[in-house]
Every structure is written in structure tokens, then in C-alpha cells.
């Protein structure tokens, strides 16, 4: 168990120096913490997000505040005090509302019922008052306790009330009749008159268990109906427990003891999972309703928040509450909340489960879920009943099936939920959730940001570019629509708002940054349809609506296309001509895997070049989606895995970054963009998962890396570099192919390809070295085969010779010979394979290409040696690896002769090819280089005669060596012109 220290900050001055009972509460969103102390007459509402902000202080009581409770809808705060009064406040404003009741002695406990209509108050007086919160009338007084009442809890199902007093008696009351149904004497510790600790009772969020601190420093669970002792949680507490709190999902429990420890329990396993020691006794704790955090307050009035109280390896304390299951997503939480609220306002609306001074808000969801089970399982459970003779309720509950469901509970827990995990809500890449009173990002990209802040009914939107020198300066604007979505590029910005009631229709607005005409801003309104996602590209604006329509507008506002998508949209992103849209393909799997699909549209050509499933880590949701700087489609999920789409293997997603591999659990990465080797993101300190808009967050660069398995070689960095280089090379080559197909000049890319190959070879050589050191000789041999430059193979041979591995050197030599043989044969064959595609467009393209080729080779012929010499340094540059300059000089001298020879060969090539013989070369080295030139000529020749050669060509292809690619990569150190032609051959094939 880790020992972390939790920083406590003082909320209430402890005037008398002796400990006093303090209370703490969370609000619904976990944005505020309410604290009170029995030695301080004020109540503080702290800002949980910015604890440095001064708290709001309510000074209504004349004496110490002993009890706090929030109504289940979080609009009303009740406080009880030693001054005998119970007061109500509006929350979170903190405005004093009313003195709802008075006692003759101090109050010790307060609790709201589930619907918030009733408040129970108890204390040193004789009875528990049930007060109607609407008019303040006393509905009932429950009398029976002999000691001071220190804990009250309404049953989440609104049937019972549990209470405990200072002499350790627990009583269960039936709310309808006001009768006691169970009296359990002496089960809780006796606290006497020391009110700095309190006995407490607490219902589990599903209402099936009542937890009471026991006499043996444990927590005892009692059955809901029979009040029988079911089990107890015993562990490391060495003194009696003075407070306990169920996690919102009822899976965990936090207990604090007089021994100044706080323990977290896994209730199902009856096992303590974490603990924390404090300087002073913790008198009250509250779980954050929306996250894995526990607020604590000690007897000295110091409060703090224990972040991730439940270890992150375990399920979150808010998990299993529908609507919060995917809480880690950026924008999810808030949407979920909005949707959840209307549905729960029915009969099973909110719960009033509040133990003495804390409530457990989200249990209602669990509760509702549970009810749906019990109904379904009613028939089945009746049979089960007879098998469980130990359950003999003193009084039959009004609903017959409950006993069954009670015992069935454990089994039911494992049954997949009928509601299941929720489909992810639509997100806008680079947006942050709305927080009251804070500026938020509507869009943050590599280019700039759009921020908004709501202010008295309208919003203030600012657009700024990171690069202030080149980006346009955009004046701030006032937004009366309440835009929640936005996207930005160099030319303009698009905004959209969802539908809010009848008079506030969903609107889409486009705002160009620079235009020659006035009023080129435009907007569209949508009736009975709302915009869910927007994207921008070169000259187009796209909006995807709730009707699953993809609407494409031109920059000027012309409605250009409307397409129907086949699922609800998740997000959309634009890059130049391309629009990528992610939709739901089906509801998520029960294992909480979102089933998403992506499509890429090319708006200019009106095509859909790519579509497929969008992979996500199980249990995560999409948190960012967009294009890299080079235009590769990328996605980032809530578990921190970045995936980039690649053409490899017929189009697949490569995981190029994994936050878990960095092993920095305290950091969250909020992705903004990426390029080929780096990920641009904002690093947020956990638990924040997104940055604040002010001050403007700064981008950090992280290296992309594959999530490699831990290899026995122990050189992960090299292996990663190897795969990265391979991927990079593949990308360049496919780009070259594409560009060639379009007939563009690729010389720049060819250089890049060569450099990458050289880098790859360097990396492979180092890997070979580490393989040899690690005695992995087979792997080393495999690596040698992957070397693309002949020189590198020679280098590898030198390396293994130096490492004293003669038989490996021998093997390498054999490989080198094989490769050289293949080069001479393979060159010709690859040229003739070109003929295969003779009747297609490709052949035609090649034909034109080859004409260019021939012309250029002729031109070269005419050039004299100075120009050839000037070629030489450029060749040296291209061979930074090991080609000695001397070699190049020789080559330059030979070049002229070769050119002449080439012309001859140009004529002969056709015959030679038919002969299908490898010429016997006297000067082998020279020939290898000549062969390349030959290829080029033959290539041209072959295509010209394509029609006639068809039959033979196929025969030739049959004889092609097993690895034709080996040849093509061997020939790399060639002139770019030839290179491109060779690439062409490959493309055609």
C-alpha cells in the first residue's frame, strides 16, 4: 500500500484547541465542498477546483454547526447547530432561506429523504423530527432513543429510516407508520458525551445493506428487512470506527477510525484496499459524486481531498452508475448529466439517502437499475426463496418480490445491464467542457484557438492564432446563440449551437477571416434538427446533424451536398479537401467497447477514398480525432492511445503512442495534433484531463513510439526506431507512387526516401550489433536481409567479423552474393514486368513516362563532363553512409562512357530481354551500376513495344525472383529520374 500524504487546509479555526466534530459535503458536480465545524458557527462553501479561492462563508448560526445535509437535487443546504436551530439555504448561492425548525437542545444529525421533500433532524432532544421541507410543518416525531441521536439515514427506497444514538442503539423505523420495526441495542460503540465523534448509520446506495460501526473496530452490515447481521468488514482499524461512507456505486466504502486512519474497503470482497494515516482523527468523509476522490475533514477543522482514493487499477467508485461509465472522456460527463436528469425526475427521482451529514447522490441510478432487474427476475426468484431458510423477516415487506431480490442480488450483479454502456456523445476535437464562470475552448488546434465564456446570457468569443505574425487578427465577438461547437482554419471559422428549446433553434454560422466582399458571414438555421459536429476545409464547411445528415456548404454559404450517414455522429475533422467523419456503427458492446466507424470524403472530387471501423482501446472512448500535419488520419482515445491510419496492410490503424508506456500516471495528455515523429499535446496534471483556457496552454512535444513488447534483446529504442523508420519509408513510397500516378515531380521525396533508407540501415546495423551481443544470430541474419543498401551489407559483414562471429560473416557473405546475383537478373525482369499492365491505363501512363525518360537520357548524353562532375557531389551527399568519395569520382568518370553505352544498349535491350540471359559480366561492380541504367533503357523500350511483347512478358514474370522488392531497394543510390521510373514499375505491378 502506498503512503501518500494528503494536504489538508484549514477551513475552520479550532478555537478551544480540543477536537470538534466537523462535516464535509460535495456538491453534484464535485465543484464545491461544503464544510462546517461544531466549534465554528460558520459554514464554508469551498471551490473544489481552485482551492486557493476564498470560500463562501455562511454566518447564520450563533453556535457551532454540527450537521450538514444537501438536498438530493443539490439546490438546498440544511444545517443543524448547537444553537438548537435547523436552517435551510439556497445552494450553491448560499443565500439564507429559512429557519425550518427549532429544538430545545443541540442538533446532531440531519438527513434529506430521496425526493427532498422531507428532512429528518435529531440530536440531544428525545425524538427525531421529520420535517416537511416545503412548509416546515412537522410530519412526525419518532421517539424511542435513549441517548443523543447522532446519525440518521433515509433508506434509498424511502421505506425505512435508520437512526443511531450515542449509546450504541440502532433503530429502524417504518416511514409510513412511524413505528419502530427493529431495535438493535448495543451494537454500535458507546461514545458517551464526547461529541467530537459520532455514531453513524449508512445505507448502501442500493438500499440493501445498512452499515453500522461495530464494537470490534469493524463495520457490520445488516440486512435491510430482517436487520440480521450479514457480514462485517474487519481489518486494520485498532480503535472503533467513527465514520463511514459508501462510494457512489456501493462497491467501496471509506471508514475512519479513532485511530486516525482512513481505510478504503472493497465491500464485495470484504477486504481493505488502501489506507491513509492522518495527524488527527477524521470526523467526516464524502465521496466525490463524479470521480475517484474522497473529501475528508479532521477534528481540527482541516479538510482535504484524497484524489484517487480507490487505486487506479481497480474499478472507479463511480463506475457502474449508468451515464458515468465512460467518465474519462472529455466532453462526456456533462452531456450525460443533462440526459440523465429528466429521466430520473419520475417516481424514482432523487434519493434522500444522507447519513448524518452527507449524501450519496448517484445511488439513484444504481437503484433504478436494480429495480428493473428485480422486476425481470421476479418469477425466477420465487423459487430461490425456499432455498434460503435463514431469511425470516419479522415483517413482510409490502412488495413480495423483494426478499427474493435480496438474495438474488449477488448473482444479479454479474448479469450484464439491460441498459448497457452508453454510446459516446458527439465531441468536437480540441474542445473542453464547460465549467461555470470559466473560459473554455471551443477549438484548440495547431493553428490557433477559439475560446468562449458565458456571461449573463450571452457569450464572449475570442479567436486567436498561435502564430500572431502570419495569422489574421480577428476581433472578438459577442455570441447570442450560445455556440458550443466550433472549428477553425486559416480562412475562417465555423460555429454551431445545439437546439435549446423551441425559440432557440440550432444554428450554424460561418465567419471568414479575410474576404473581398462585405457581409460574407453567413448562417443557417435548422428546424427539428440540431448540429452535432462541424468541420472545415479548403473552401467547404461541413455540419453533421441529429438526423444523421452530412451537410456540406461552400465557403460562401451555398448548400452544396446533403448526404445521409448511417449512424449517429461522434466527431468530424477536415483537412484541405478531405473530410473525415466518425459515426457509431452500433451500440457499444456489453464490455463497454464503442463500435465506431470512420469515413473519409474528398469534397473536391466527391469521392469517398477510405472507410472502415475505427479501433479504440476496450472501455475507452474517442477523445480526439483529426489529421496530422501531413494529412494522416489520427485518433486518440481516453486511455491515451494514439492511432494513425496507414495504407499498410490494405489500410489499417497503427498505434503510434500510448500514454501508459510513458509511465507517468500523474499526467494526462490532451492531444492537439501530431506530425510524423512528434505528438503535440498539452500536459495536464492529473486529475485534470483537459487544460484551462487561461493562461493559454503551451504545447509539449512527445515522441511517437510503438507500444512494443518488452523484448529479450533489451534495445527497445532501436527496435522502435526500426519500426518507425519502416513506417516512414512506407509512407514516403506510397506518396511517391501516388504522385507519380498523378504525374508530378517526386525528386524531393526521392531524396527523403533515400535518407530514410540510410537511417533505417544505420538503425538495422545497430540492431544487428545488439543481436550479436545478445547471441540472437538468426535475428541478425533476418536483419541483414532487410538492409537496403549494398554498402550496409558489407558494413554488417565487417561488423560481425569484428565481433568474431565467422560463421555469421559467412552467412552474410552468401546473402550478399545472392543479392548481387539477383540485382543483375532482377533488374531486367522487373523492367519487363511492366508489360503486364499493357492494356490498361497504367501502361499508357508508363508509355508517356518512358518517352520523357528517353528524351532526358538523350539530353544527358549531350551534356559533357562538367555537368557530370557536378552530379558527383550530389551523389556523395546522397550516400552519407559509407560510399567513399573516391568511388564516386570513379563513377563520374565512367558516367560519360556509360551514357554512350546506354545508347547502344537502348537498341539492343529488346533482344537481350528476349534472350532472358544474364550477361556474363567481366567487371562486375561496374556492371551492377550499369545494369541500373540498362533497366531504365529497357524499361522505356519495353513499354514502347508493349503490345507485341505481351506473351513473352508473362513468361518472364514467371521467372521473377522471389523477392522483387529486394532489387528495387538495392538500386536506390541512383539518379532520381531513374528512381522514379523504377517506382513506377512497382506501382504498375
Amino acid at each position: 500500500m502506498k503512503i501518500r500524504s494528503i494536504k489538508l487546509r484549514e477551513a475552520h479555526k479550532n478555537s478551544n484547541g480540543v477536537g470538534s466534530f466537523c462535516s464535509v459535503l460535495w456538491d453534484q458536480q464535485g465543484e464545491h465542498i461544503v464544510t462546517a465545524s461544531s466549534s465554528d458557527s460558520s459554514i464554508c462553501i469551498h471551490d473544489a477546483i481552485l482551492p486557493a479561492n476564498p470560500p463562501k462563508v455562511l454566518r447564520q448560526h450563533r453556535d457551532g454547526v454540527t450537521a450538514l445535509s444537501l438536498s438530493p437535487n443539490y439546490t438546498c443546504l440544511a444545517s443543524g447547530s448547537i444553537d438548537h436551530s435547523v436552517k435551510l439555504y439556497k445552494f450553491p448561492a448560499g443565500e439564507f432561506d429559512t429557519n425550518i425548525t427549532r429544538f430545545t437542545l443541540p442538533i446532531r444529525a440531519l438527513a434529506f429523504n430521496k425526493s427532498g421533500t422531507m428532512l429528518a433532524a435529531g440530536g440531544d432532544d428525545e425524538g427525531i423530527k421529520l420535517i416537511n421541507t416545503i412548509d416546515g410543518s412537522i410530519a412526525r416525531v419518532l421517539k424511542g432513543h435513549r441517548g443523543s441521536i447522532t446519525g440518521i439515514a433515509f433508506d434509498p427506497k424511502s421505506e425505512y429510516l435508520a437512526s443511531v444514538d450515542s449509546i450504541g442503539t440502532v433503530m429502524l423505523w417504518e416511514l409510513q407508520s412511524g413505528n419502530t420495526i427493529h431495535v438493535l441495542k448495543g451494537i454500535a460503540p458507546v461514545i458517551g458525551s464526547d461529541f467530537s465523534s459520532a455514531n453513524i448509520v449508512s445505507w448502501s446506495p442500493d438500499g440493501e445493506l445498512l452499515a453500522v460501526p461495530g464494537l470490534k473496530n469493524d463495520v457490520v452490515m445488516y440486512d435491510r428487512d430482517t436487520a440480521e447481521k450479514l457480514f462485517s468488514l474487519r481489518g486494520d482499524h485498532v480503535q472503533p470506527i467513527c465514520f463511514l461512507s459508501w462510494s457512489p456505486n456501493g462497491k467501496y466504502m471509506a471508514t475512519s477510525g479513532l485511530d486516525r486512519q482512513v481505510l478504503i474497503w472493497d465491500v464485495d470482497k470484504k477486504q481493505d484496499i488502501d489506507r491513509q494515516k492522518f495527524d488527527n482523527r477524521i470526523t467526516c468523509m464524502a465521496w466525490k459524486p463524479t470521480g475517484n476522490a474522497l473529501a475528508v475533514i479532521d477534528i481540527m477543522g482541516k479538510y482535504g481531498v484524497w484524489e484517487s482514493a480507490v487505486p487506479s487499477s481497480m474499478r472507479s467508485p463511480t463506475e457502474d452508475i449508468p451515464g458515468l461509465s465512460s467518465k474519462s472522456g472529455h466532453g462526456l460527463l456533462f452531456y450525460d448529466e443533462e440526459e440523465e436528469n429528466p429521466s430520473v425526475s419520475g417516481s424514482l427521482s432523487d434519493l434522500g439517502e444522507g447519513s448524518q451529514d452527507e449524501s450519496e447522490p448517484f445511488s439513484r441510478k444504481r437503484l433504478r437499475k436494480h429495480h428493473s432487474y428485480t422486476d425481470d427476475w421476479e418469477e425466477d426468484t420465487n423459487e430461490e426463496l425456499e432455498l434460503l431458510p435463514n431469511v425470516e423477516p419479522r415483517k413482510k415487506a409490502p412488495h413480495g418480490h423483494r426478499d427474493g431480490s435480496d438474495n438474488k442480488r449477488n448473482k444479479l450483479k454479474d448479469v450484464p445491464l439491460s441498459t448497457g454502456p452508453k454510446m459516446q456523445e458527439a465531441i468536437q476535437p480540441g474542445a473542453t467542457p464547460q465549467l461555470p464562470g470559466k473560459r473554455r475552448f471551443l477549438c484548440y488546434s495547431m493553428l490557433g484557438s477559439i475560446t468562449t465564456m458565458e456571461h449573463e446570457g450571452y457569450s464572449h468569443i475570442e479567436i486567436d492564432f498561435h502564430d500572431t505574425s502570419s495569422g489574421p487578427r480577428v476581433p472578438a465577438m459577442t455570441d447570442y446563440f450560445g455556440f458550443t461547437m466550433a472549428s477553425l482554419n486559416e480562412n475562417g471559422s465555423v460555429f454551431a449551437n445545439p437546439c435549446k428549446g423551441e425559440k432557440n433553434m440550432s444554428t450554424l454560422m460561418y465567419r471568414p477571416f479575410g474576404t473581398w466582399a462585405n457581409n460574407s458571414e453567413w448562417s443557417m438555421r435548422f428546424e427539428e434538427e440540431e448540429v452535432r459536429a462541424v468541420a472545415l476545409g479548403t473552401g467547404w464547411v461541413a455540419a453533421i446533424t441529429s438526423c444523421n445528415f452530412l451537410r456540406i456548404f461552400t465557403e460562401g454559404g451555398l448548400q452544396r451536398h446533403i448526404l445521409s450517414l448511417d449512424g449517429p455522429v461522434v466527431t468530424a475533422a477536415g483537412f484541405k479537401d478531405e473530410l473525415a467523419v466518425v459515426t457509431h456503427a452500433s451500440p457499444p458492446l456489453p464490455s463497454n467497447e464503442q463500435i465506431l466507424e470512420f469515413r473519409v470524403f474528398n469534397i473536391r472530387t466527391g469521392t469517398q477514398p477510405r472507410r472502415g471501423r475505427l479501433p479504440l482501446t476496450p472501455g475507452s472512448c474517442l477523445s480526439w480525432f483529426g489529421f496530422s500535419e501531413e494529412g494522416y488520419l489520427s485518433s486518440f482515445d481516453s486511455t491515451g492511445v494514439l492511432r494513425v491510419f496507414s495504407n499498410q496492410y490494405g489500410g489499417s490503424w497503427l498505434p503510434l503512442f500510448s500514454a501508459s508506456k510513458l509511465k507517468k500516471s500523474e499526467e494526462n495528455y490532451w492531444v492537439v495534433g501530431l506530425n510524423t515523429s512528434k505528438l503535440f499535446c498539452v500536459i495536464c496534471k492529473s486529475p485534470d484531463s483537459f487544460p484551462e483556457a487561461t493562461p493559454k496552454p503551451i504545447l509539449s512535444l512527445l515522441d511517437l513510439s510503438f507500444p512494443l513488447a518488452s523484448s529479450d534483446l533489451g534495445s527497445e529504442i532501436l527496435e522502435n526506431e526500426f519500426i518507425m523508420n519502416n513506417t516512414h519509408l512506407h509512407r514516403i513510397q506510397s506518396t511517391i507512387e501516388e504522385m507519380e500516378a498523378a504525374g508530378e515531380d517526386t525528386s524531393l521525396l526521392d531524396d527523403e526516401a533515400f535518407n530514410t533508407e540510410a537511417a533505417l540501415d544505420r538503425c538495422i546495423l545497430r540492431l544487428i550489433a545488439s543481436c550479436c551481443n545478445g547471441d540472437k544470430l538468426v535475428r541478425a541474419t533476418e536483419l541483414v536481409k532487410l538492409l537496403s543498401l549494398e554498402k550496409s551489407v558489407k558494413g554488417a559483414i565487417k561488423l560481425v567479423t569484428a565481433l568474431k562471429l565467422p560463421n555469421l560473416a559467412e552467412r552474410f557473405n552468401a546473402l550478399l552474393e545472392e543479392r548481387m546475383n539477383r540485382e543483375t537478373t532482377g533488374g531486367k525482369i522487373s523492367a519487363s514486368t511492366d508489360l503486364k499492365g499493357d492494356n490498361s491505363f497504367n501502361a499508357h501512363a508508363a508509355l508517356t513516362k518512358s518517352h520523357v525518360m528517353v528524351e532526358s537520357s538523350k539530353r544527358l548524353e549531350l551534356q559533357d563532363s562538367p555537368s557530370l562532375n557536378s552530379l558527383a557531389p550530389c551523389q556523395t551527399k546522397k550516400r552519407p553512409l559509407e560510399e567513399p568519395i573516391k568511388d564516386v569520382n570513379v563513377e563520374a568518370e565512367n558516367a560519360k562512357a556509360r551514357k554512350l553505352e546506354m545508347a547502344r544498349e537502348f537498341k539492343n535491350a529488346f533482344d537481350m530481354k528476349n534472350a532472358k540471359k544474364v550477361r556474363d559480366e567481366k567487371d562486375k561492380v561496374d556492371e551492377v551500376s550499369n545494369a541500373r541504367e540498362e533497366d531504365e533503357v529497357k524499361n522505356a523500350n519495353g513499354v514502347e513495344d508493349a503490345q507485341d511483347q505481351n506473351g513473352e512478358a508473362i513468361k518472364v514474370t514467371a521467372q521473377r525472383p522471389s523477392n522483387p522488392f529486394a532489387k528495387s531497394s538495392n538500386n536506390k543510390p541512383n539518379t532520381s529520374l531513374f528512381d522514379s521510373l523504377k517506382k513506377k514499375v512497382k506501382a504498375d505491378r
Partner: protein
């Protein structure tokens, strides 16, 4: 510039500031620029909204042109400075601060005041720290007069502080030494000279090195 070997002559504040300008700071540029290849090294590339490490003089130059914001160094946060101030008050020793903390903070206050959060707080904290340290130096120097001292050991002294005390301390030590040696061996004339040199050297090393 002042002759460094002559340790009785102090640098001027401007000279020290000049030296401090070589310290590295982090900036967030708002423009795109290729790497700068300078004699002292390559800086950049500069990409908008991505932090880069540059020498202070470059940061100030860019800042003056409105091309970047300067990220205040880590030690210049209210939190850190409060800690340092407390520790400085509590302990006899000097706390570890950047050698040029006075000059760096001064330059940043002059040129990048809007980039420093809580600038008034930071400024007053640094003033306080400076005062506390000078006071400490003052009390520390009293020991020179109490006992026979040949050298002074002041760890973690910053450039500005060392600069201020240097003329006095070296002079004082020299004088003491002279008086001492003449008391002990009044008749020999050559030895004190050599010893004085030795003292000077040691002095220099202690004060300059950190």
C-alpha cells in the same frame, strides 16, 4: 570590462547583467522561424505555442519585438520563492538560487512583466530574499574581525552578492593578514608578500566558484 584578475575591482551592475544574459530561459514563440545557428549554439526551431530554450538576451530581444512570451523560470514562482525565503530566514546557510538570480529577475521584471504571474508578489519576495541574504553576508563578515581569518567560505553566493562584497572582503583579509604576519614575524619582509599572493588566489577561487 574590468580586469578580472584584479579582484579588488568589482564589476558594474550592467556588466553583471550582460553576463547573466547568457543564462537559458524558456520562451513560447508566437511565430515560426528556422533554427538560429549562432556561435554559442543552435537555438530553435521556433514554432508557435511550443516552448523553446534560448539565452536570455535572445528572449528579451524577441520579447521586445512581440514575438514571444517568456516563461518565468521555475524558481521564480511565488511558491518556490516563499519556500526559499523561509529557509533563508531559518538557516545560517545560503539557499541555492541561480547564480544570476538578481540579474535574471531584474531583466524579466523590466521586459516581461506581463508574463510573470503575481508579479508584485514575486518582486517583493525577491527583494526580501535579497535583503535577508545581504543581512546574512553582513553578519557573516563580522567574523573576520573576531578571529584570525585567511579565507572566507560563502557557499551559494550569487554573482551580484559576491560582486558587492568582493572589494571589501579582499581588502579586509589582506589587511588582517598583513597585520597578523607583521605581528608574528616582524623582521621578514619577503614571506608576507608570497603569502599574500596565496591568500589572494584562494580568495578568488572561493568567491568565484559556486
Amino acid at each position: 570590462m574590468a580586469n578580472q584578475s584584479d579582484n579588488s575591482v568589482a564589476f558594474s551592475a550592467a556588466e553583471l547583467e550582460f553576463l547573466a544574459e547568457d543564462e537559458m530561459v524558456e520562451i513560447v514563440p508566437n511565430m515560426r522561424m528556422e533554427p538560429l545557428n549562432l556561435i554559442s549554439g543552435d537555438f530553435g526551431p521556433f514554432r508557435p505555442q511550443i516552448a523553446a530554450q534560448v539565452p536570455l538576451w535572445l528572449a528579451v530581444a524577441l520579447k521586445k519585438r512581440g514575438k514571444c512570451t517568456i516563461r518565468p523560470p521555475e524558481w521564480m514562482s511565488v511558491e518556490k520563492l516563499t519556500q526559499v525565503l523561509e529557509a533563508e530566514r531559518d538557516s545560517e546557510k545560503f539557499q541555492l538560487l541561480p547564480f544570476h538570480y538578481v540579474e535574471i529577475s531584474r531583466l524579466l521584471f523590466d521586459h516581461a512583466r506581463e508574463d510573470i504571474p503575481d508579479i508584485y508578489m514575486v518582486r517583493s519576495l525577491i527583494e526580501d530574499i535579497k535583503d535577508v541574504r545581504f543581512h546574512k553576508i553582513g553578519t557573516g563578515l563580522e567574523i573576520i574581525s573576531k578571529e584570525v581569518t585567511y579565507a572566507l567560505r560563502l557557499k551559494n553566493l550569487s554573482a551580484m552578492e559576491a560582486n558587492i562584497v568582493r572589494p571589501f572582503v579582499t581588502k579586509a583579509l589582506q589587511t588582517f593578514h598583513k597585520l597578523n604576519t607583521t605581528e608574528a614575524i616582524p623582521e621578514s619582509g619577503s614571506i608576507p608578500n608570497r603569502q599574500r599572493q596565496a591568500v589572494n588566489q584562494r580568495d578568488k577561487r572561493v568567491l568565484k566558484g559556486r
